[in-house]
Amino acid sequence: MLRYILLRLLSMIPTMAVISMLVFTIIELPPGDYFESYVSELTAMGEDVDMAEIEELRHQYGFDQPPVMRYFHWVGGMLTGDFGYSFEYQLPVSEVVGDRLWLTVLVSFFTIIVTWLIAFPIGIYSATHQYSWGDYGLTFLGLLGIAVPNFMLALILMYFANRWFGVSIGHLMDQKYLAEPMSWEKSRSILSHIWIPVLIVGTAGTAGMIRRLRANLLDELQKQYVVTARAKGLSPMRTLVKYPLRMALNFFVADIGSILPAIISGAEITAIVLSLETTGPMLVKALQSQDMYLAGSFLMFLAFLTVVGMLISDIALALLDPRIRLAGRSTK
């Protein structure tokens, strides 16, 4: 296993290299560059632009060089810990993120916990009480969450939360706390706001989880070893959790790899609609305005988390099921 992990760690290097090229290409694909969009944004607002100044900036950031050169410049910078400069914020990329990062982690973390807390019991319930009213009802609710686009749900919740509970629309806290340091009131305010995004992002994920868990459990529930466990006198719940659930978790563990980056990127569109102070909208904005170093570093960070997440997921998989030999070939 240790050897396998080592091999995997080594293989991250070429993977990340390939990803960096891909990220670079993707950022470069849309026509124009940041300055182009900068100029057009200014002119759209009726402002004047000093084209000479723009040309100068272009030159300064090497935008008059061929893309290959810029790629190496960028990658070289990242290797030495210099993630480049955000044109939009006029700050080094490393300083732009600020508070947003932990707020994002907070929201995502809450969302994931809530998703699991809801999905696991319900999934188990649905599988053990297949075709009961509870199964149907919960399935229906879950699917409702999937069927309504997140932004719509966001708008509806926002609107009614405001009408009925007076919660201010959007954001993660009341505006007045924005610039303040952490305090009791501020955290209260955050708590009173966070449930909306958690609910919105959570609903879609929860239903997916419930349905999949249910499906996987249904397959396992009939297996002979479950009967054995029952014959030992194990209670249905403990049987379920110890045996079939562990088997059914396979799909879930396989997906752990994508949780990690999702925590950071957050649900972008919901975050945009709700105007959350998280990293998602920042990424989208950076992409739209072609703030390439910011977007690029962000994407690379996500990629890194993905790669690490996949490794964690594979290790967890081997822990979950002793039969799995990750490095091994199939017996022929």
Binding site: P30, V148, G208, R211, A215, N250, S258, D314, R323, R325
Partner: protein, 396 residues
């Protein structure tokens, strides 16, 4: 030493057991009695068996019917929709749904709607519609209304239902250009229920094949496939959409671009499924029956397709049914970023995107009707999935 034969194999509690011998007729060569029903089942093919099992799941059957009808309907949308996709009614902007009634002033008239009068509230700039009970507008059936080109080929104007001459029939209200929401939903179904499935088909095929091979073979193949998956998963969908939207040829029609994006998304979207399949197969491949199949000389394709994937069918079905809303509504996210479908094409996603404002929720909630259709379709697909799952479940 011989014991007396007793009548029952079960003595009184605690009593010693006598020697019981059954006196029922005994013929070892007699076969188990088989009913014709047993015979029928024994002779049936596996597909037939599945169908019989599926049939027992009433809700799944109903869902299958519902979807079947829906898909049949999208073939003849032009005929079913009371209006054309683009027919506007400037005097009926944001008109709430009209109720179909049967009785007018206590007497039966048949299905009809009341005409409406509109008043513009100059202060709030709201259009206020009131039923005009004097204006009874009977709905006409199998009638001629807006003319259309059926499938772009044949000129026709035949409709299932039309408004009364000079009247209106907005069963689900109208939108901001006075277009009939019902008609738009019907036309939208055509796109929403077809193209997205293409993407699912692509991503599922890829996911199962690639994930299956990686999980079954393991080793280097797996290592490389996993790296590929890492690379693909590393790129979030949003930048990808943006890049794709940027490179799609300008001259393509919107529908072609949409198909293009769907296909490409399908081509990139298989990774999650592939990983799930692979992980499951990594453990399933250690089962004895896989070995048995190998020893019979079965190839990878057969082992994956016939032995391993069926063991994972429930998950696949669940995932597929869950992917459908994603594909129907995927374009809402695209539109959100300004990359989605554009008129003149209409889909449910577009309709919902257009309803994207607090005003709609507050004043024109009927514009959210497409959601209802999405929900119905998704429920139907899920129940259908349940039925299929059960049909494939040997324990049922």
């Amino acid at each position: 030493m011989t014991l007396e034969t007793v009548r029952s194999p079960l003595p009184e509690p605690g009593a010693p057991l006598g020697h019981y011998v059954s006196d029922a007729p005994f013929d070892p060569d007699r076969l188990e009695e088989t009913t014709p029903r047993h015979k029928k089942f024994a002779r049936a093919s596996q597909k037939q068996l599945m169908w019989w099992k599926f049939r027992r799941h009433k809700l799944a059957l109903a869902s299958a019917w519902f979807l079947g009808i829906l898909y049949a309907m999208i073939l003849v949308v032009e005929f079913l929709a009371p209006y054309n996709l683009h027919t506007r009614h400037m005097e009926h902007i944001y008109e709430p749904p009209q109720r179909v009634r049967l009785f007018h002033e206590g007497s039966f008239v048949g299905p009809f709607v009341y005409g409406r009068t509109m008043r513009l509230d100059m202060d709030t700039l709201q259009r206020i519609y009131t039923d005009n009970p004097a204006d009874v507008q009977p709905i006409r059936f199998f009638c001629s209304g807006d003319s259309y080109r059926f499938w772009g080929l044949k000129e026709a104007d035949f409709h299932l239902a039309c408004p009364a001459k000079g009247g209106t029939l907005f069963l689900l209200g109208t939108d901001r250009l006075g277009r009939d929401v019902l008609s738009r939903i019907l036309y939208g179904a055509r796109i929403s229920l077809t193209i997205g499935l293409l993407g699912i088909a692509i991503s599922f095929t890829l996911g199962i094949v690639i994930g299956g091979l990686a999980g079954y073979h393991g080793g280097w193949f797996d290592l490389i496939v996993q790296r590929l998956i890492e690379v693909l998963q590393s790129i979030p969908s949003i930048p990808l959409w943006m890049a794709l939207a940027a490179i799609m040829p300008v001259t393509w029609s919107p529908i072609l671009i949409y198909i293009g994006i769907t296909v490409i998304l399908g081509l990139l979207d298989w990774t999650g499924l592939a990983r799930a399949v692979r992980s499951k197969l990594l453990s399933l491949r250690e089962e004895d029956y896989v070995l048995a199949a190998q020893l019979m000389g079965a190839g990878s394709a057969r082992i994956i397709g016939r032995h391993l994937v069926p063991g994972f069918m429930s998950h696949l079905i669940a995932t597929a049914t869950l992917a459908i809303p994603g594909m129907i509504l995927g374009e809402t996210a695209l539109s959100f970023l300004g990359l989605g479908l554009r008129p003149p094409i209409t889909s449910w996603g577009i309709l919902l995107t257009e309803a994207r404002s607090v005003s709609v929720i507050a004043f024109y909630p009927w514009l959210l009707f497409p959601t209802l259709f999405v929900i119905l379709v998704i429920l139907a697909f899920n129940f259908l999935g349940d039925g299929l799952r059960d049909a494939a479940d040997p324990y049922k």
